[in-house]
């Protein structure tokens, strides 16, 4: 699963930084303990020296034993193994009912030919307490550092990546069909992003150019096709008037006429598509869509008296759109025509127009293939040779240029096309 750059960065920091800090803490504890031990040894040595000096100065006045301070004995009661090495022990304080840890050091001294053994004590409790307090302080500081690093990192990477997000937003909003140049900042203050913007800008320029060329090509090709088509049509007009026309040639002619007709219709639609692509329908007026719909339906009733499927309409009057009149007529005409052409015998068409949407439902055979592709050029719902395969792509293109939402669904033998108007 992909995460955002910042999330990823924070996650990374949160995984590794605590680990590093933990190792640091352990290291700190070990070093602290070692130093504390060393310090204790020094203090034990110092005490040995001080007490022995005091003893030697006034051997009779000094106490032989002070709990938690020192122990002086005549002779050598302890084995040599215990000598000169700091050891640990605990002393029980009855009044406090507490066992306290001590470090102790025993050394042998000679005085007037008599050997003595002196053991000095230094309490470990205070040192231990200090170590614990230092560790707590250290952990607290580490947590603070961790938080600060994460926050600073987030802030700074937000700042760092801002040009990138700007660029991404613009690239996202870019629409090849509008064919506009993409304006990206040339100077972002970061070398890599300058380069990225430069590369994207030139890439888009090339893409735009290629797209323009392709559109121009389609337009030119369609235009050039018109003349041969005109020739074929005129020759066909002459041929059907020839006096020695037989039933056999008439059949052939009928087929040629149909094919030619499809060709010229396809060509007309292609031209129309390129023109919409090329934004050659810029003028917009306030169109009464209800009127357009009613006129079209009346027209169909008049021309196709009896041959039509049953049309149930619910057209709300006075629905207006700011758009190009020709395009809206084509849009509605193509959708209605489509619902009639691809109907079944004794089928029906339901048309609903409200202030924000147009829904056309019709009975019909299920389509073969992906319904998403129905609105692509030259894609047909079924293998039906009479249609050009461009009617619905015109619809799609028109919807796209006005940002209408176009939806298609098929369920229970009903095709449903829904257009949601945007610019109300």
């Amino acid at each position: 699963m992909s995460k955002s750059l910042q999330q990823k960065n924070t996650r990374y920091l949160l995984i590794w930084l605590p680990l590093v800090l933990l190792i640091g803490t352990i290291l700190f504890i070990v070093l602290m303990s070692m130093h504390a031990r060393h310090m204790q040894e020094q203090q034990l040595e110092l005490k040995q020296e001080n007490i022995w000096n005091a003893f030697m100065a006034k051997p009779e006045t000094i106490a032989w034993h002070i709990t938690g301070e020192y122990d002086l004995v005549k002779g050598t009661p302890f084995s040599n193994n215990w000598l000169n090495k700091p050891r640990d022990t605990t002393i029980y304080y009855a009044d406090k009912m507490e066992r306290v840890a001590f470090g102790l050091l025993t050394e042998r001294h000679l005085f007037n030919g008599q050997s003595y053994q002196l053991t000095t004590y230094i309490s470990s409790k205070e040192i231990r307490h200090m170590i614990i307090k230092a560790i707590i302080a250290e952990v607290f500081i580490f947590v603070l550092i961790l938080g600060a690093i994460v926050i600073i990192n987030r802030k700074s990477s937000g700042l760092l990546w801002r040009p990138f997000y700007d660029t991404m937003k613009k690239v996202k909003a870019y629409d090849i069909i509008q064919n506009q140049a993409l304006q990206l900042k040339e100077q972002t203050g970061i070398f890599e992003f300058n380069q990225l913007n430069q590369e994207i800008t030139s890439l888009i320029q090339n893409v735009n150019q290629a797209y323009r060329n392709q559109r121009q090509f389609v337009e030119n090709a369609s235009h050039e096709l018109q003349t041969p088509l005109a020739i074929i049509r005129s020759k066909l007009d002459l041929l059907i008037n020839s006096p020695d026309l037989t039933a056999e040639t008439a059949d052939l002619l009928a087929d040629i006429t149909d094919a030619t007709e499809r060709l010229s219709q396809m060509n007309r639609n292609l031209l129309l598509l390129t023109k919409i692509d090329n934004n050659q329908f810029p003028e917009r007026t306030r169109i009464n869509v209800s009127d357009v719909m009613e006129k079209l339906l009346a027209y169909y009733q008049e021309y196709y008296d009896g041959d039509l499927p049953v049309i149930n309409k619910s057209v709300q009057p006075g629905i207006y759109l700011m758009a190009n009149a020709s395009l809206i007529e084509i849009l509605i005409n193509n959708l209605v025509t489509n619902s009639i052409v691809h109907n079944i015998p004794n089928g029906h068409v339901d048309i609903r127009l409200t202030h924000n949407e147009l829904i056309i439902e019709n009975t019909g055979h299920s389509i073969t293939g992906d319904p998403e592709q129905l609105f692509e050029r030259f894609k047909k719902g079924r293998e039906q040779s009479q249609t050009t395969g461009l009617g619905l792509s015109l619809v799609k293109q028109i919807c796209h240029s006005y940002q209408f939402d176009l939806q298609y669904s098929y369920a229970e033998a009903i095709h449903r096309v829904r257009v949601v108007f945007a610019n109300l």
């Binding site: 005129s234 020759k235 059907i240 008037n241 008439a250 009928a254 010229s264 219709q265 020709s326 005409n333």
Partner: protein, 224 residues
């Protein structure tokens, strides 16, 4: 009637003049801008059929030249360009009609005849074929002075067939001619059949039997 066809596509040019010669037009041709200018200078025509893309200059220039020199021939532009702007440009320069390629010769014929009627013979607004009379001003159809009540579509259909009388007019040409709604996509041309049937029935009721013949399903022919 004299007709000048200015079109650089020879094959199309030939089709057009062949069709109009059968209509008893005197046809002159030109296949370039300069030839067109020369012909226009030298003769007077009743109607000029003008292509826009010509070698040596554009049809629009030729049209401008024509109107600047106070020549009042009727001009019908035939062009592969079908945008509204092209159409407006042509009509603004004084063309009388604008027909987009590919077109049907029967449609061109109907446009030429309508233009000539409008321009030159305001008085005679009566078309006749056998016992059938069509009054173009009052839009009345008479058979031996008996009026036939026709719907608008049937009237347009009859008029179109009369303009192209004695010729086979293809079903598609009829469909395109009488179809004045949004023209991008006709669901089918089947509607022509039912309107022809109605028209036939109405003519038959008034005694005009068998005037409209179907020709192998390709089209229809009106003759006396």
């Amino acid at each position: 009637m004299k007709l000048l066809v200015i079109e650089d596509e020879r094959s199309l040019l030939e089709s057009i003049i062949q069709y109009f010669r059968q209509e008893k037009f005197l046809c002159e041709t030109a296949s370039s801008y300069h030839e067109g200018i020369r012909k226009v200078e030298d003769f007077l025509y009743d109607c000029i059929i003008l292509d826009l893309n010509l070698p040596g200059g554009s049809g629009l220039q030729l049209l401008k030249y024509l109107r600047q020199n106070k020549k009042s021939e009727g001009v019908i532009i035939i062009s592969a360009r079908d945008s509204l702007d092209d159409r407006i440009a042509g009509l603004d320069l004084g063309a009388d009609d604008y027909l987009t390629k590919p077109f049907h010769l029967s449609e061109l014929n109907a446009r030429v005849k309508a233009l000539i009627r409008r321009k030159y013979s305001e008085g005679t607004s009566l078309l006749e074929l056998g016992a059938l009379k069509v009054d173009l001003l009052s839009r009345n159809v008479l058979v031996e002075n008996q009026q036939i009540a026709l719907s608008k579509i049937e009237y347009d259909l009859l008029l179109f067939l009369m303009t192209n009388k004695n010729r086979v007019v293809s079903r598609l040409a009829i469909a395109e001619h009488i179809h004045d709604g949004p023209s991008e996509q006709l669901p089918s041309t089947d509607f022509v059949y039912s309107h022809i049937k109605n028209l036939k029935r109405k003519l038959k009721e008034k005694g005009c039997n068998e005037m409209i013949q179907s020709v192998y399903g390709l089209g229809y022919k009106l003759s006396s």
